[in-house]
């Protein structure tokens, strides 16, 4: 068996020593390193202590969930910004596709793969994909999930194949066993008769060998293949819903952003109109009204910022879950391939054994054939069937 490739650690880790078991380190898009506990799925900017057993406590004034997109949520209120400086259009640096925010194609950021040269699931399935008809989109995660389910199906089909082999072996054994009891040439006697009888018996021995083969195929190959991860589909369904829910949540947060952006646009328009009107003395709006309009505009700006914050939180949460979940799926797939490989090796092992045992069934036949002795057989037969050894003599007168 080929030795498994160890996940490569980057320079910082080797400088500071190894991570505690289960932890992996990744690079965020902004170039910050973050750490994931692959057992618990906990994500953190802080490098976990190498001392086992010391629980990680989150910083006092922050939530335990820190975005890995670089945006630190501290829980303190967002500062009021001068909404005048706020761009009414979306920043030209990003684009939303299906509620997910990607960098604009023309402005490619410095992005390093989370797991370079590993062709890892967590690096390649961020975008959604149009399905074959082009009507619906399928998320990258969906595709990974389908692969998992297909893998389970393959495992099941392989077990079915083995079942079919088992049936063939049992049929073969049954036929050999039946023929072994056939009485053809049973009347052959002596040393030749013994050799022939053993030849017939050897078919029963062969039948035994093939029955044993089929029995072991069942217990050592078919059954394990069938029963591996019995609850897999359920588990995958949970997975599916979990990630789908995070996307739905992201979509609703994005809708909120768009709504807030619209509201801000209207408030700013209203303010502008009212200010213009004051200058041209078109109306008797008092400064009170303008202040009110200005206040509403600022509020709309705050709302927008809050919505964008919440959106980014949701996206970060989805991002983290994507990373940890796809890594888990990847691990499951490696396990599946390894499990199947082992059991197919067991199959070939059983085949080897069977052919060997089968060879030994003719050993005794060969022995007895070597002992076949026509002279001995004649003696045996003559002793039993002779009619008389006194020879005739001439008749005397």
């Amino acid at each position: 068996q080929k030795p498994r490739k160890a996940t490569p650690q980057t320079g910082e880790d080797t400088l500071n020593g190894h991570l505690p078991p289960g932890w992996q380190s990744y690079m965020s898009p902004q170039g910050r390193r973050y750490y994931v506990n692959t057992f618990t799925n906990e994500t953190t900017w802080e490098r976990p202590s190498s001392v086992p057993g010391t629980p990680k406590s989150p910083p006092a004034n922050s939530t335990s969930v820190l975005t890995v997109n670089g945006y630190h949520i501290s829980g303190t209120p967002v500062h009021h910004l001068d909404t005048g400086h706020m761009s009414l259009r979306k920043a030209s640096g990003d684009t939303q596709i299906n509620s997910v925010t990607f960098p604009h194609p023309d402005v490619m950021p410095e992005q390093q793969l989370l797991k370079p040269s590993e062709w890892s699931y967590c690096d390649y399935f961020w975008a959604d994909k149009k399905d074959s008809q082009g009507n619906n989109t399928v998320s990258g995660f969906e595709i990974l999930l389908q692969k998992q389910l297909k893998g389970k199906q393959m495992q099941k089909e392989m077990a079915e194949f083995v079942r079919e082999r088992i049936k063939i072996e049992e049929e073969y054994a049954k036929n050999l066993s039946k023929l072994s009891q056939n009485s053809l040439a049973a009347q052959e006697e002596g040393t030749l008769g013994e050799a022939w009888a053993q030849l017939k018996k050897s078919l029963a021995d062969e039948a035994e060998v093939h029955l044993k083969f089929s029995s072991k195929l069942q217990s050592e190959v078919e059954k394990p293949l069938l029963n591996f991860r019995e609850n897999f589909k359920k588990d995958m369904k949970k997975c599916d819903h979990h990630i789908a829910d995070l996307r739905k949540h992201l979509a609703s947060r994005y809708a909120a952003v768009e709504k807030a952006r619209k509201a801000l646009t209207e408030r700013q328009k209203d303010l502008e109109v009212k200010t213009q009107q004051l200058e041209v003395k078109l109306s008797n709006k008092t400064e009170e009204e303008i202040k009110k309009a200005r206040r509403k505009s600022t509020q709309a700006g705050d709302d927008l910022m809050r919505c964008v914050d919440l959106y980014n939180q949701a996206q970060s949460k989805w991002f983290e879950e994507m990373v940890t979940t796809t890594l888990e799926l990847e691990r499951l797939e490696v396990e599946r391939v390894e499990m199947i490989r082992q059991h197919l090796c067991q199959y070939t092992q059983l085949r080897h054994e069977t052919d060997m045992f089968n060879q030994s069934t003719v050993e005794l036949v060969d022995q007895l054939l070597r002992k076949v002795d026509p002279a001995k057989d004649r003696e045996l037969w003559v002793k039993e069937h002779k009619t008389g050894d006194i020879r005739p003599v001439d008749m005397e007168i």
Copy 2:
């Protein structure tokens, strides 16, 4: 294979050198040595010349058939014997059973087996035997013939058995071949998919191995067993009739002896009565009548002697044919056993080969299983199915 035992030569032969090829030497009941050409069945008292190529010419004044019972037929008329000395009763030294003359049980002659320690057919089948119901008798030769026919039957049944094995192998091969083409788990890809595909293909290879096995079983075991001595039954029938005719001839010669014996008894009685009548002057029979009665009596005596001669000739002929024919049957039986042994060895040889070839069908599967690489398979799959490697970024306001 065990080396065949050479027929032992007796002292006289080794003193005078070896017999020409095909000749065997035997001892007659009377202690005279005679020689049999096993190829031509010629029998003679004269030791055949060791010089090859010189034809044996029979002695000038004797028939070519010399009895081996010790009675030399020279063709010259038998001397007239004084019938007065002739016993009217059978000699107490022999007894006839079914027309064959055996020494009287109470007067056991010095009889040495023709082929001592060989349990030869020619030594043990002289007497007839009552069949199971006790109604008819079966000749010893009949029993030997039945054995031959049974041997042919055994050969045929063995071939049938092999045919049944062939059918089983063909069925097995067909099933394996069909399963090999099954598309279960055909969607498995990458290195695991290759190993799986080869595993399935190996079943087709196994099918080939078993088809080859069944094909060789047919040509190298079944067919030879079936075809060995195709005309055997005909040949045995000829044999049977030949020996049976000689027995019938012997029986009719024996009947003639009994008839002649009866006639002599009557003639002797008649002479006695007539002589007595002369002495008591009871009749006026002349000496002429007595002379006539005496002449008739003598003639009857001559007739009896001739009949006994002819009988003994017939018995000798039957005896010779029995020896040579039973020796031939014995040889045929040795050949049959040897032929069967060889072909059963061929069967086991084919079994060995088959198991060996079968082992090699999983070699490639093992190779490919060793090459199974989950990482490689992931790379392959991800390259084909990835949706996008650009990671999401925070939305900017």
